[in-house]
Amino acid sequence: MKVSLSWLQEYVSLEGITPDELASTLTLRSQEIEAVYPLIEADKLLIGEVLSVKKNEKADKLSVCDVNTGKKTLQIVCGAPNVKKGQKVVVALPGAKLAGGLKIEKTTLRGVESNGMICSLTELGLDYKYHHEDGIHVLADTAPVGEDAIEYLAFNDTVVELDLTPNRSDLLSMHGVAYDVAAIYDRNLKLPTPEIITANQDNAFTIETQTDKCPSYYARILDNVTIAPSPRWLQARLIAAGIRPINNVVDITNYVMLETGQPLHAFDLDKLSANRVLVREAKQGETFITLDEDKRTLEEGDVLITDGEKPIALGGVMGGLDTEVGDATVSLLLESATFDPRQIRRTSSRLDLRSESSIRFERGVDPEKTPYALDRACAFLATYAKASIRNGVRYFDHHKTEKRIIPIALEKVNNVLGAQYTKEDIKSVFDRLNFSYEEKEGRFLVEAPSRRVDIETYQDLIEEIGRLKDFNELPDTLPSTVSIGSLSAYQRFKRDIRKTLSALGLSEAITYCLREKERINDLTRENESPVELSKPLSKAHHALVLSPLTGLFDVVAYNKARKQESVHVFEIGKRYRKNEEPERLGIAMHGPFHPRHWQKTPPTNFFTLKGVVEALQKGLRLPRLSYEKATLENYHPHQSAVVKAGDTTVGHIGKVHPEYAEGYDVEDVYLAELAIDKLFEMRQKAPTYRAVSKYPGISRDLALVVDEDLAAGELQKTVERTLEDKLKESRVFDVYTGKNIEEGKKSLAIRLVFEAREETLQSKEIDCEIDRVIKALKETHNARLR
């Protein structure tokens, strides 16, 4: 809501309050102020009269004018084609300021001296949308030469723009703003009372409704209307409020709407088929052409104002083109009605048709203002359009007239706010707000005024008290609730994952969860249909991801394209489903990893990533993980595995298929995904202690020749099964094929570490165990010692 301060002054004195002070006070006590600005930027302009116009000999687009500015006659060069002798115009003399801070100086144009400028409205700082004028602005013949032009045009005004919250529909009117300002500053409020004189002509007119979505409808008929421009002050105020002046009838309906918050509509009476208004709901598919010349297709529920035969307005949203007021209009049907807020909202948002009227109706208007606004507009029309008002107002009004009484006790106010206000404090707030109340049995019974549709409960009253007393005056205390704060074990677990991976040198990423539908399953292990938006934001943000890997792969490609040599990233994301959102850890690795050095940097490959996964496993007490070679779509067919904990699959790991990667201009990308929710459930809950053995361990190395396609893990499983708890650890420390190893075979070197808990291990004993292992390996895997 853009508030003209000169207008506001009519209802409440702003004496001693600067616009900036008003803005900061309203911000703290009422609504946030978006901006404070003068209606126009221009300054020091005069009214002049064009005495003569000659063409400049050197440039025929320029006219050389003699302009009487009251005290002096000055030569001014003007470029506008519409300048004519005898016009009253707006003149900027040297020293004046125009829009955009342009300073006027004496200049020479094509060798001709120019002592100022004849201005257009745009040059004054008025947006084109308010006037649609291309050339200089021509004033009325009666404009007084030498006087201040800005004052004459009533543009000497300041606008305070309120950023309204949707509950305060009352502030969509100047009256509402005046109520609030008067309450905040504790000043008197004086609102006008419309006085109309009706002609003796009878108003033979019927008004009916067939829907409860139009609870009230008031109308008057006016005759002998003279369509003309509105007075300057009225036009200026509309412009200040952001509305383009059209003609006196339209402008007055808009003016009264801004003043009271009650939208009005004027119909050209002669274009109605009958002296009748019938309000009904639209039929499915019914069409109607609105004022903006758009053919609207309606749905059941939309409210139509009709003349009994044809629709004349889309109720509460916009009038019809057929019954629009024009230059030839003589008689008016003036409507002041109320509509169901929810229906207006439905209609206007479906048709994407937001009007000043629909904005107010969908938030709720003051039903007591409906007849008031009608009379107020009639009074203006009588004055400024020379209209005569027919006798009698026609209406129906189904609004409940019961008072809305809200009880509230002082203790409740103080208990909610944590304040120590007195009864007098509370009374003073209600008085300033013009809320009536009575005290009964220790409570205030407050009557919520009809203009404040947002005041419904005691909490709303507490808000009024809080804001008028200033929330910032409340003490700073902390809740008395005693409780133990903590992260859950799972929340700590997730933090540990982040900490561990960060310490290892990986960076956390946060990627978008909404992605292209086609790519959702590219890098997941199990395909399924993703959850999709019913109205996608865009093609790129269409469906919910099933793995953080979708985003992480792109992070690799993005950074690679920006010449980042190493990209090692992770993200804790989700597998989004309609009824569950299990969390997934994604890891992506590409390029040299630790320790990058001039001496030697180990290559980054499948095993680097496997090492990172194992670091998590060891660092976070996860169950032992095993890896089973697997074929996964878009992954390297021979460098991918599912990750298992016991018999449960908990994730996958692998190299992205080179062909897929190439499609995104990357290569050598390694990805892993782990179901951290499952791993959390399976992990060892707390560390367990086991005394350190007093006896030294013994290790033995075995070099074995086995079939080339035998997985080392299988071999180790057999070793472990054979030695059981005597074995502390087995590790493959060399893999070799080539010279001295026959075709189809490979050599695996395994280190076995034995640990004795009871006594020093005897070499003989170990030899015996080794023999058992070799025998078992031969039987199970046909392995032989090299």
């Binding site: 703290l28 929810r342 409780s483 950074n559 001039w598």
Partner: protein, 344 residues
């Protein structure tokens, strides 16, 4: 023969030879020559028999002392050789200490999650628990139970991403509050914060993101007041933005709180004087808050005649942008490592 003189001559000869000794091997040879069985000094004892009994002890002493002196010279040389050998070995181990170390740079937690963790820690310190919930929410949880019926004008404030008529991506983490209250069964006090991702129908630009992170807080008890809210927010603002920051409360509107306020913190850039960052107001908006609307308490199983509470919510991106002067919200989701790795 003057034994004394001869021993001194031997000493001189040994010193001379030792000068040329370079290795332990050379030293061993010299030692054999001067102190071995066939060495001259070893032969001196044979002369003992030619001496009178009176002379014998003095002679013997001189020979032994002579042997000791020769031996000392050799040992001295041996020590010198050993030291030289060690020094040479160390010299060969010389390195260029300015050469680069292997790169063990740690990665880092994403700046947004770091801020979430920081805020969580402050609240955990004040006795709050952390609650999370689904991002795919029902219209009922996201809106209706929060006093936002269908067709409510405030639904415009958060234009939403729907999946079906009844399912949408949550527009705030408030439904977690409702879920928690329902879980607590209307019986015990609530003191929680709810961090998480939320979504709005916005086109991404420098200040808008269709996905962002939010933290909301909720305290419900028998005597929770608006002053408690103010004190809590003041504590948080100071902990997050610095001791010298002040907050201010402005009336606002949220359907789920009543009264509702928006909370500004004094601008760190200009200390409240007014600058471009704060649009000359001296304040920067950081969060929305208020007393929980009775409707919400009722819908969540709490009796508003007994319980009351406050709630607040803030956007993490906004906090990060203010704290670090980050100018474009999209940086957080681009994951350019040159950006992500700056926040250690």
């Amino acid at each position: 023969m003057d034994i004394q003189k001869r021993i001194e001559e031997l000493e001189e000869a040994l010193k001379k030879e030792l000068e040329n000794v370079k290795t332990m091997n050379d030293l061993q040879n010299v030692k054999s020559k001067f102190l071995g069985k066939k060495a001259e000094i070893s032969g001196f004892m044979k002369h003992m028999k030619d001496l009178s009994n009176d002379e014998k002890p003095a002679f013997g002493k001189k020979v032994n002392e002579g042997k000791q002196r020769l031996s000392a010279l050799i040992e001295e040389k041996r020590e010198a050789l050993r030291k030289a050998a060690i020094e040479e070995k160390l010299r060969q181990e010389t390195i260029d200490v300015t050469l680069d170390a292997p790169d063990f740079t740690p990665g880092g937690v994403h700046i947004l999650n770091r801020i979430v963790e920081e805020i969580e820690d402050i609240f955990v310190g004040m006795g709050y628990k952390i609650k999370e919930g689904p991002e795919i929410e029902t219209d009922e949880m996201n809106f209706e139970k929060l006093n936002l019926p269908k067709d409510h004008p405030a639904r415009d404030m958060q234009d939403s991403l729907y999946i079906t008529e009844e399912l949408l991506l949550r527009t705030h983490t408030s439904p977690v509050q409702v879920r928690t209250m329902l879980e607590y069964g209307g019986k015990k006090p609530v003191k929680i914060i709810c961090p998480g991702k939320v979504y709005r129908r916005d086109d991404d630009d420098a200040t808008h993101s269709h996905q962002f992170l939010q933290i909301e807080g909720l305290v419900v008890d028998k005597n929770t007041t608006m002053s408690d809210l103010k004190g809590t927010l003041n504590t948080i603002a100071k902990a997050m933005f610095g001791e010298e920051r002040e907050i201010r409360l402005r009336p606002s509107y949220f359907p789920f709180t009543e009264p509702s306020v928006e909370v500004d913190v004094t601008c760190a850039n200009c200390a409240g004087e007014g600058c471009n960052i704060c649009k000359q107001t001296g304040y920067i908006e950081i969060l929305g808050a208020g007393m929980v609307n009775d409707f919400v308490l009722k819908e969540s199983g709490y009796d508003p005649k007994i319980y009351q509470g406050f709630a607040f919510g803030l956007g993490i991106e906004r906090v990060a942008m203010l704290k670090y002067g980050i100018e474009d919200i999209r940086h957080f989701y681009t994951n350019d490592l040159r950006f992500n790795t700056q926040f250690k």
